[in-house]
Structures are given as structure tokens and as C-alpha cells.
């Protein structure tokens, strides 16, 4: 019989984040960084009245809670939109010239079970193409992988990209991990 001491605590070094999600306990945690020559990550939230951006206002640290059920998108980080079943928290702090980010999803012990990927029309803000992913217990990266498949299907099919409300065709988008970008996704990420 093999036994191991339980993990009681662990660290996530935001300054050395490898861009992968850590899913343990009640939270999934991602961390990343942006250099001065790169566009910043900007949180966007969907509301009934349109899209609300939360840009950095100064060099101070910022922390925004995205309530459970609110669709959000972080430009330059992921091109689709996410709805979590539990709150998410985006922390942004500057050290030297580098911007550091930490995205924490979770909190409740009965949360972090499922996440939804979706798209938002850039012409009329209609939500469409919502698809629920259950099974976050086995890792947040599985949802990110599933979302990338959706992104590739979306980009390849103009019908999927056509807004059911206004008929505008959504431009191509990008997945979560930039290193996996295809040329079209890389261009979309660069365009913001």
C-alpha cells in the first residue's frame, strides 16, 4: 500500500507563472505576465447594456471580482468568453516594467464544477454559441482544451461566426495558450 502525506498548502509564483492552470482544492489558479512591448490583458464583462471593459488606470495594483454567472473575456489572453459557476478574481500588479496577472476561479466548496464557453457579437453584443463543459474537477485545462477546439471550429465556419441576432460575421478569435496559436489565431490575438 502506498501512502503519502496530504498536501496542506502550496505556492503559486505569479512572477514565474508558466501559463498553465493549477486546479487544486476549491480553486483553479492561472498566472501570467506582460512586458511593456506587449498589449496589456484587459478584462471585459458582458452586461445587458453592452460590454464593459476594465482597463488598468494607473500603475497601482487592481483586483476585480467577476461574479459567478457573468460572461467575461480577457483581451489578448483568450478570444472567447467564459461563464463560471463560481466567482473569478483577476489581480493585476506591476513590478518594475512588467505587469503580472493572477486569475483565481473558485471559493465555494460546491463550485468549480462546470464552465461555459460562448461568443459575443462585436456589433450588437448578443451572446451566442453557449456550450457548457462539466467536469472541472479533473482540471481546468480540460475546459481550456475543449474551448480551443471550439475556437478552431468557430474560425473555420462562417456560419458559426454569424450573429443570430444582427447577422454580423464575427472575426476569427484565439484560444487561451498563445504558444498553441495557428497563424490566423496569432493574428487575431495581436489585433486584440
Amino acid at each position: 500500500m502506498v501512502s503519502a502525506a496530504p498536501t496542506l498548502s502550496f505556492d503559486v509564483d505569479v512572477t514565474a507563472g508558466d501559463g498553465r492552470w493549477v486546479r487544486q482544492g476549491n480553486h483553479a489558479i492561472w498566472s501570467g505576465r506582460r512586458e511593456p512591448n506587449e498589449p496589456p490583458y484587459v478584462l471585459h464583462e458582458w452586461t445587458e447594456r453592452g460590454v464593459r471593459p476594465f482597463p488598468r488606470r494607473d500603475d497601482n495594483a487592481h483586483m476585480r471580482r467577476v461574479p459567478a454567472g457573468t460572461p467575461y473575456h480577457i483581451s489578448s489572453l483568450f478570444g472567447f468568453w467564459i461563464v463560471n459557476d463560481v466567482d473569478a478574481l483577476l489581480l493585476n500588479a506591476k513590478r518594475g516594467e512588467t505587469d503580472y496577472y493572477m486569475l483565481v476561479v473558485g471559493g465555494r466548496t460546491d463550485g468549480l464544477r462546470e464552465a461555459t464557453s460562448l461568443f459575443v457579437c462585436p456589433k450588437c453584443a448578443a451572446r451566442f454559441g453557449e456550450e457548457k463543459f462539466a467536469g472541472l474537477q479533473s482540471g481546468y485545462e480540460r475546459f481550456i482544451d475543449a474551448a480551443l477546439k471550439r475556437v478552431r471550429g468557430f474560425n473555420a465556419d462562417a456560419a458559426q461566426r454569424t450573429c443570430p441576432k444582427c447577422g454580423a460575421v464575427h472575426p476569427p478569435i484565439y484560444g487561451f495558450h498563445a504558444e498553441a496559436d495557428l497563424p490566423e489565431e496569432r493574428a487575431a490575438r495581436a489585433a486584440g
Binding site: 498548502s9 505556492d11 476594465f54 495594483a61 453584443a125
Partner: protein, 221 residues
């Protein structure tokens, strides 16, 4: 910007209350612990040196809990009591059930039924640094526990529990004060059943309510 055509065209501060927890006008609301949505949040200002008196603390404006750059954080695990270093921009995640104590800040071991994350934010352009604390919002039968372990042999000496999930987090501070004062008043509760050592008194997170003996204890452990 892809969504510029559909942006809500009103100033952010007018339509979203408290959108930035680290905004200097919002921070005072988090000097204790504040339940918001699925989490409970607390912010502590990092001072170069720990205030040694209540007067210094009030002058520094650090709120109800002293935070200091050089304080030490401890946890109890399979290897006994271990010190956990604080590193700026390193998030420390304590999983539910881990007894933890921060010296000079609260004079007991806290045990949650939900995970707790701590991250030190270094000073920015014109602002001091902060310690950000976030934990899940307890629900149902989830509880907070306050424990004391023998400083000589680490056996559990005394523990009480508050079912914050059903009673609400607002009960925490009254329970904390009553528990600490009960423990301090009774040497039997502080006497280790295993080795007979009489352990020092505890103290509250709210330093401004310290009695003389609690203030003395705060400076020691």
C-alpha cells in the same frame, strides 16, 4: 479593440460599485474580513515595521489587524509546525483543514473548512504594499475553528468551533472575542494534558481591544 462598438459608455465608477478592491477608497472596507459573493476578503497594509503599541497602530491607520513585513506565518502539518515564507507576488494557498497562525496578528491557530489564499502585493508607484487574503465563503455546515496547541509538545490543548456556514460570518468576531477571553481566564484550558505545560494567553485579531495581558502576549508570539 474588438468590442469597442458595444462598450457601455458610462464612467466605470458610476455604474460598478467597488469594482476595484485595491482602490484606496474601497480598501478600508476590507480591513477586517468582508464577505462578497463566493468569497470572504481581507486586505492588510504592509508596514516596514510592526506597530508595537495600539497608539502606533492607530497612527499608522492599519485598521483592526496589525500587518507587518517581518511577521512570520506558521502552519501545522505532518512534519509538525513549519514556517511559511512570505514572498511578494507568490500566492500561498492553504487547503481547508490546515491550522495556521500569524504571529503578532492573531493569538490562536485558525482552521477553516474552506481554502484560503494569501498574496503579498508589493508597493506600487504611490501606494504601500498590501497583503490580500481571500477564502471561500463558508456555507451549510462549514465551520471556522480556533485552536491552541502546546508550545512545548504541540499537542492540542483547546479548540472551539463556529459553524459560520449557517450562522454567518458576522458572528465570527463575537465568537473570537468570547473564545479567547474564556481561554485566557482559565489556566486549566491552557494546561497541556500531555506535558502539563501552561501555555501563554491568546489575543484577538482586533488589537485595539487588547487587554494588558493580551497586548503583552501579542508582542511575544
Amino acid at each position: 479593440m474588438m468590442y469597442a462598438d458595444v462598450y457601455v459608455d458610462e464612467p466605470l465608477d458610476k455604474i460598478v460599485d467597488d469594482w476595484d478592491f485595491l482602490n484606496e477608497k474601497v480598501l478600508p472596507k476590507f480591513l477586517g474580513f468582508r464577505p462578497v459573493g463566493d468569497g470572504v476578503y481581507g486586505m492588510r497594509q504592509i508596514l516596514p515595521e510592526a506597530p508595537q503599541t495600539v497608539e502606533q497602530q492607530q497612527q499608522a491607520g492599519t485598521g483592526p489587524i496589525i500587518a507587518a513585513k517581518h511577521r512570520r506565518h506558521w502552519e501545522i502539518g505532518p512534519k509538525g509546525i513549519v514556517q511559511v515564507p512570505r514572498t511578494p507576488l507568490v500566492a500561498h494557498v492553504m487547503l481547508a483543514g490546515t491550522p495556521h497562525h500569524t504571529e503578532h496578528v492573531y493569538g490562536y491557530w485558525h482552521i477553516n473548512d474552506v481554502d484560503e489564499i494569501t498574496i503579498d502585493i508589493p508597493p506600487a508607484a504611490d501606494r504601500p504594499g498590501y497583503v490580500v487574503l481571500m477564502q471561500g465563503h463558508p456555507k451549510g455546515n462549514e465551520a471556522d475553528r480556533m485552536a491552541w496547541y502546546c508550545e512545548q509538545c504541540t499537542e492540542l490543548v483547546h479548540m472551539t468551533e463556529l459553524v459560520t456556514g449557517s450562522l454567518g460570518f458576522k458572528e465570527f468576531w463575537t465568537w473570537e472575542r468570547n473564545t479567547v477571553r474564556t481561554y485566557n481566564a482559565d489556566p486549566k484550558l491552557r494546561t497541556c494534558w500531555n506535558c502539563g505545560h501552561v501555555n501563554p494567553v491568546g489575543y484577538l485579531a482586533l488589537a485595539t481591544q487588547d487587554t494588558a495581558e493580551e497586548r503583552e502576549a501579542r508582542l511575544k508570539w
